[in-house]
Symmetry: C2
Amino acid sequence: MPELRKDPIIGRWVIISTERGKRPSDFTTTFRRKENSACPFCPGNESATPPEILAFRPTPSEPNKPGWTLRVIPNKYPALRIEGDLNREGKGIYDKMNGIGAHEVIIETTDHSKDMPDFEEKEVEDIIWAYIQRIKDLSKDPRFGYILIFKNQGEEAGASLEHSHSQLIATPVVPKRVTEEVEKSKAYFNYKERCIFCDIIRQEISENERMVVQNDFFIALEPFAPRFPFETWILPKSHIAHFKNTKKEAVSSLAKILKETLKRLSLALNNPPYNYMIHTSPVGESDEIDHYHWHIEIIPKLTRVAGFEWGTGFYINPTSPEDAAKYLNEVKIPTPV
Amino acid sequence: MPELRKDPIIGRWVIISTERGKRPSDFTTTFRRKENSACPFCPGNESATPPEILAFRPTPSEPNKPGWTLRVIPNKYPALRIEGDLNREGKGIYDKMNGIGAHEVIIETTDHSKDMPDFEEKEVEDIIWAYIQRIKDLSKDPRFGYILIFKNQGEEAGASLEHSHSQLIATPVVPKRVTEEVEKSKAYFNYKERCIFCDIIRQEISENERMVVQNDFFIALEPFAPRFPFETWILPKSHIAHFKNTKKEAVSSLAKILKETLKRLSLALNNPPYNYMIHTSPVGESDEIDHYHWHIEIIPKLTRVAGFEWGTGFYINPTSPEDAAKYLNEVKIPTPV
């Protein structure tokens, strides 16, 4: 019998379809890398990108030249533009405004052939620091309501370049999806006087059916009502509303758990294309709000969104999160030699 | 300068990205048909499907044997099961229930090689009658909150079989996406005392910038804030809340406009994979509600949903609806010989 499950945060129902019960080997989308000598993200090709906004250079070297280990650049084909005013206006029943925002690319490595699960821990830490630094900087711009960090890995997951990178988009309004999550979490807090994410973490640790891995500061788990097979969330164990306020001592734990979670997904599912998104509080929210709890959502790209999902917002998931957690726990991570 | 536009119904913002301004020829996903002698939807293979629920047979013939022109069958791998009780229950903060519902397949034609834009008008009319008949029948089951009709055409759009078919899924709860649309339309009605869809139709006819085609009873247009390039909606011009209440005299107009709209999309975009979904009122809503207006949403599958969309609910659309309407209007439909 299939099971209907409700996401406790935003109330979205999903169908866990036992009839279609899929194992990792039933999914066959694999991210394969082609050779590309003209990659604009490779060292030596810095002039092919707009000038860098930020770069980590272990020894002093000139901007927009080799010598960096991580680079942040404006997107060459930005979805939103940094200069200008919003000019919000109506036309009959419609509303529009100028597409003002920021669209940046975080080039995570100099090595065209390496993916995040195989980075050194220090490299992943640097990526997290770059995220934090860029968010802190852009948060000062009063035009922005929200700043999203996300990663598309592989063509099927929407990446147009294969060299490992993440993106940042700052939007002038707080997106619907974010408002909904924050408001629903607030409603829960108003009723229970507890953070819903903290409650989820407590229940997941106690039930121990959907846990993937945990360390001092973070936990990785399969959510109770996942939209997609092997959808995985990483959450800080202690309540914290804004990603950018992650404490120095927690950054290396986050790098460790992100790398290990992606490695387990990669080994279980044969290097699938994936997306991850950092869900954090809107820019304008105070640093100490009690009801929202930042987290990362990772979606391996294994199934297709079709008419039923578009028409209802329901998702049909052919792998239960309990099975997915079991498969991810069974993965043997080879010890580096 | 990119433009941010807000969907007037549910308030979703989209980015119309002029930087990426894409023309029809920039999209290259094409639905290609393979030969398949073992297709369970072809005449002669009726025993490969569950027994039919409904069939149109122009001359009397035995059920589950050839002689039909259209067949409705239960999905062999249903996302939801028809037998049983809901048994809604909680576990800590989580909610679940049995996956009760209906999942049916409408086999639209006997011809494995033909798609809807090339059907005879009479065939499309029959499909609409089959939709109406199945919805009317399932609406009597008190366990169901919503009945969705949708079509996935092509593998990229989620179709697992290529023989032209639509699907019906009845769900025990009213899906979030539907509730949201109905509630927001109601809020507009409470404020303006007019249906928002009727207002949209009036403004679109008067502005004449996003119109695709219209006839006596229906209008096809590119919505003001489309999530996807060439997203197209078909709406009845007069207010009507439930699709199932479509009047006899309007069915042939609907068949005509659906066929012509799909034909224009197919010719402009070189036979793209697509989804369509019928958005109609929940089963429990009275027949005469003033605030909701049923319609069809057609989404050609041309772009990928990636991290930004998943993280924010914003969509980046590289083709403005005004350009899309222009391209669709320029299509020359060959006159049948």
